[in-house]
Symmetry: none
Subunit: 128 residues, 4 copies
């Protein structure tokens, strides 16, 4: 797995790393039961501080994506039953990008095509 980090982004590194891992799970590059690289290994690969990786892993654990086992390190979990506010959270996250894209002239159809493309890259997604 290749992790792309942008050190000059305004998004903190630990958060970028977290996002990349979640996307990796979505794409099927990490399957439930898989181990994540150890904190050190990941830190070396990415050229960042182990503390930063640690923070990422703690967050992923709190969010229910992984379990951290003293003996085996971080393991991807099977079910991601997080908080039940998926819809509200999603709506809040979509509102701004959709509005901006609309104002900049993007057609709704084109928007849906784009969504389809994203869905098609997801593991186990219903193809349309």
């Amino acid at each position: 797995m290749v992790i792309g980090l942008d050190f000059s982004s305004s998004i903190p590194i630990y958060r970028q790393l977290r996002n990349q891992i979640v996307l990796g799970i979505g794409r099927g590059q990490f399957a439930p039961g898989d181990d994540l690289p150890s904190v050190r290994q990941m830190a070396d690969e990415c050229g960042i501080n182990p503390m930063t990786v640690n923070k990422t892993y703690q967050q992923l654990k709190e969010e229910g994506w992984i379990a951290i086992d003293r003996r085996h390190g971080a393991v991807i979990l099977e079910h991601f039953e997080g908080k039940p506010d998926v819809r509200e959270k999603l709506q809040a996250e979509l509102m701004l990008p959709i509005t901006e894209a609309h104002l900049k002239g993007l057609e709704k159809e084109e928007f849906y095509q784009l969504c389809e493309r994203i869905f098609s890259q997801l593991r186990g997604a219903t193809q349309c």
Copy 2:
């Protein structure tokens, strides 16, 4: 226009304000040609410092949403044809929320319903 700011959010105030204004344009609460409240006025309304509002306005100007006329203050612009990378930006912004929602069990259909609801609130959007 009522601007809702969350002072305990991790999103900077100047950015929240910027987002609220863009959403306002999307909803048609601000129409092209309209004046935005003056920096001081907006600052008073929101209970924040004028410099913070100033930063927001500068950003909106750079992004092409408004022009700051020496004589009349800030005015909403007509065309928002900014950079041609609307699609790429949108895709980058959608990737993560869609992936997360999918992994948490949200069906694609439900996702599209949610998008429709957002679109239906936009000024001049094609109703489906």
Copy 3:
């Protein structure tokens, strides 16, 4: 003569107007002895405040470009013998744009071509 003003520019209007008039003199659109429009007329044409035009004219007078005659209004002068620091001032003004253009990859030859083009538009310039 058409005056182009940008009301959202960071350059004050009175200064933009001053620059446009100097450029007009350079192009030969205003010849020595010509009258400038009256303050009112100019203000109307440009859609700006007469006070602003007044400020421009005062500045042009101080800089030695025009004379302001109570009876005839503003007249373009023949000789523009300003302060003798033309070279130093010019060097200071050229340093930054040349450096930036160079750093952005503009070749020296291209730069000189561009200068030639500007010179060729000047009244009474030696053609090369």
Copy 4:
């Protein structure tokens, strides 16, 4: 590097600082990959407020001269291939000074000598 600021100039400090840094890059005093002093350090050296330096750095970042790395602060970038309108921008910037100098009697040859002198001070410039 010595930064010369004129506190009585009409050009804002943050802009003067920005210009000085770009000139420094042009002269080779800052090479790609070099670190700029930290915001606080630069502020101390120049005797100005850190926020002012911050504004300069943000502007340099937006203009593509530097990147602000979360870990190491500001770094001079390698390529300055920004917007493709270098020529137009340059022309707009040269028009006025050339016109004024011409009207004040400066010969074209003298102008070119002056340009040569500026070019000769640039890092990696072709000597003529």
